[in-house]
């Protein structure tokens, strides 16, 4: 008599498509997934607890290491929370520099997603093209703050380094170049029949589900909810820029792909405007004391990171160190919908769906 049984497959923590140290326990019947259970925590470093013993300036490099693909937005979230409680006025030039580096970082982050996602789907070349362009963004960051991944660039009250001479022109040149490159990616991938077959109608969910699971960022917008904190809860100087918020309809992988690619274009638009109105001269740091003491109080600030709503809940008792710090990490929240999405899919779709959520394990585990 033929007997069939379910197979328990352990995917990760060292598997090429988990994008880090993520482990997934899946029960498969043939190649069909009946149950999936994510196991996280392999990269947990206790950032929030560590922060309680660190001054505000010392926390900033720790935030670099959460979402290491978009360290600039993470830098911003902690300084923004402190500045909100301190009510400091940020110099114009510093605000522009912050927006420029955050948007550059968003492009770099989406490029990494684009490349690795296509790698997950089995196409090798887009990965190398995306990293070629990302390299130029990293070079710009390197010139600005001396680091390529962990920037430690922002400070409470402004930014650490002013833009070197000619840097803004390089940003402008890069923005122009990226416009051509996004079209190149479109030609290579967007219309590809195999790519469309692999993504259309796969891993979709409704807007209600997205809201119920607390998804944010592209994962939320792809399901048709128009919610971008840069527009709906403007921070920094985002209310001065013109840009659109791309939304999808079904939340499937194709919608997510199109949303992210369109976000790259919109970020280029913001860069164009920021470069155009960039202040000629001026300070890049506000007058804050050498030792930063945040007045007693609580603040929750939220910003739109490339992966979604990056929140920072700061409780201060008036010391130079926070009393409690809590990060709402979008990757962690977005990951929660994964078991629901995987049920009934096959192993090939597993990789595609996991990749579509776009998690960064440094951020999931913090």
């Amino acid at each position: 008599m033929i007997r069939t049984e379910e197979m328990l497959l352990n995917v990760g923590p060292q598997h090429p498509s988990t994008h880090g140290v993520f482990r997934l326990l899946v029960k498969i019947d043939g190649e069909k997934i009946t149950e999936a259970e994510p196991v996280i925590g392999y990269l947990h470093r206790g950032t929030e607890k560590l922060a309680e013993d660190l001054t505000y300036t010392q926390i900033i490099p720790y935030t670099d290491r959460m979402d290491y693909l978009s360290a600039m937005t993470n830098n911003y979230t902690i300084v923004h929370a402190a500045e909100t409680l301190m009510e400091v006025e940020i110099p114009e030039r510093a605000e522009f520099l912050r927006v420029i580096v955050m948007e550059l970082n968003r492009i770099a982050s989406h490029l990494v997603w684009f490349g690795t996602y296509l790698l997950d789907l089995g196409a090798v070349s887009p990965f190398l093209y995306a990293f070629r362009e990302r390299e130029e963004i990293l070079d710009l960051f390197n010139e600005l703050c001396g680091a390529r991944i962990t920037y430690n660039y922002m400070r409470v009250g402004g930014v650490k380094w002013d833009a070197p001479e000619g840097w803004i022109d390089k940003v402008k040149a890069l923005a122009d170049k990226m416009k051509e490159k996004t079209e190149e990616y479109d030609r290579l991938v967007s219309g590809n029949e195999i790519f469309i077959n692999r993504t259309r109608g796969i891993g979709g969910y409704s807007a209600d589900d997205a809201l119920a699971y607390g998804l944010s960022g592209v994962n939320l917008r792809a399901a048709g909810v128009k919610w971008d904190l840069r527009k709906d809860r403007p921070y920094s100087i985002y209310n001065r820029f013109q840009f659109d918020v791309p939304v999808g309809e079904t939340g499937d992988l194709e919608d997510k792909y199109r949303c992210r690619m369109e976000e790259i274009r919109q970020s280029i638009r913001i860069l164009d405007q920021a470069v155009e109105h960039f202040p000629e001269a001026g300070p890049v740091m506000a007058k804050v004391g050498r030792v930063i003491r945040v007045p007693a109080g609580e603040a929750y600030t939220q910003i739109e990171s490339p992966r979604g709503e990056l929140g920072c809940y700061l409780v201060s008792r008036g010391k130079d160190k926070p009393y409690r710090l809590k990060f709402r990490r979008p990757s962690f929240n977005n990951l929660q919908i994964l078991p629901k999405l995987l049920k009934g899919e096959n192993v090939a779709n597993l990789v595609a769906i996991l990749g579509g959520i776009d998690i960064v394990l440094g951020e999931v585990d913090a």
Binding site: Y129, N197, A348
Partner: protein, 324 residues
């Protein structure tokens, strides 16, 4: 019994091995060029010795057999996969002189022998006692069975046109017109099916790195792994050779340029096919298993049958009948 009978195969084997060495480098150079990289440059001039270094490295590696593997099957699987890859090369006519086994049913021999490799892959995946390897092996078996049929069906048109299963006869039948033109549908089906047979992108599911880590050979190390890889590469060249023979007129010259020797013509067409295979690899994402099955059974097989029907029909039409 001449010396050729004994030395010929040895020379051929060495030639093929040497060629594979260069061709792997060629693939990496082509991929590098398409992906904005330089490819291998460190070992030897222009990276020429890179493959040699790779193979030497694999030979020096520790040979690991997993504790719970089926030892005998685990050891024999790479051989089962590897031997047919070389055996099929015997029947390919490189020119009208250079062919090592000019047997009457060459085409049948090629297709029959090449499908033995599937057993090697299946045995390797099963005996490893690894879930990823098993999944890879099962995929491979499903894929190869599904694509074997359209592959065989698509060459029926060629057999009908040439009136022979002998590969030399098939090339000779293409002196006036290569079969790629009258057998265009057959060629397309054959090409897609051969990609799937070779486990090449976009049909590289059995070893889909991003899903199955490495597929059926995930537990293999050292020279056993090298055997699998070598088998795969030799198949690429065997299949490119067969495509050249069946559809591109083998050693027949184009535009009547007979000043180039026949072997050059064969090599040129063959390299074109190999280049296209690499080009596809650099461009396309991977297709999903169920879509692969649908493509095989619902698209390629009916197309192959239509091709047979049309070939038979046109053969009776006066004027163009000679070409079919």
């Amino acid at each position: 019994m001449s010396a050729m009978t004994f030395l010929g195969p040895v020379v051929l084997l060495l030639l093929v091995l040497g060629f594979v060495t260069i061709a792997i480098l060629f693939e990496r150079k082509v991929l590098g060029w398409m992906q904005g990289r330089v490819g291998p440059v460190q070992v030897g001039p222009w990276g020429l010795l890179q493959t040699v270094a790779d193979v030497l490295k694999l030979l020096l590696k520790e040979d690991i057999i997993p504790g719970k593997a089926d030892r005998i099957l685990f050891k024999i699987a790479p051989v089962i996969a590897f031997v047919p890859a070389f055996a099929v090369l015997a029947v390919i006519p490189y020119t009208d002189r250079i062919v090592f086994a000019d047997i009457g049913v060459g085409l049948l021999y090629f297709i029959a022998i090449s499908s033995i490799t599937t057993i090697g892959i299946l045995v390797g995946g099963w005996s490893s006692n690894n879930k990823y390897a098993l999944l890879g092996a099962m995929r491979s078996a499903a894929q190869m069975i599904s694509y074997e049929i359209p592959l065989v069906m698509s060459v029926v048109g060629v057999i009908m046109a040439a009136g022979s299963l002998n590969l030399t006869e098939i090339v000779k039948a293409q002196e006036s017109l290569w079969f790629i033109l009258p057998q265009l549908i057959g060629f397309v089906v054959f090409f897609v099916a051969s990609l799937a047979e070779l486990n090449r992108t976009p049909f590289d599911l059995p070893e889909a790195e991003s899903e199955l880590v490495a597929g059926y050979h995930v537990e293999y190390t050292g020279f056993r792994f090298a055997f699998f890889m070598l088998a795969e590469y030799v198949y690429v060249f065997a299949m490119a050779g067969l495509t050249t023979v069946l559809y591109l007129g083998g050693w027949n010259p184009l535009f009547g340029w007979t000043f180039l020797p026949p072997i050059v013509w064969f090599a040129a067409k063959f390299l074109l096919i190999v280049f296209i295979l690499f080009w596809i690899r650099a461009t396309l994402p991977r297709i999903r298993l169920d879509q692969l099955m649908q493509l095989g059974w619902k698209v390629l097989l009916p197309l192959a049958l239509v091709n047979i029907f049309l070939s038979a029909l046109f053969k009776e039409v006066s004027g163009i009948g000679n070409f079919f």
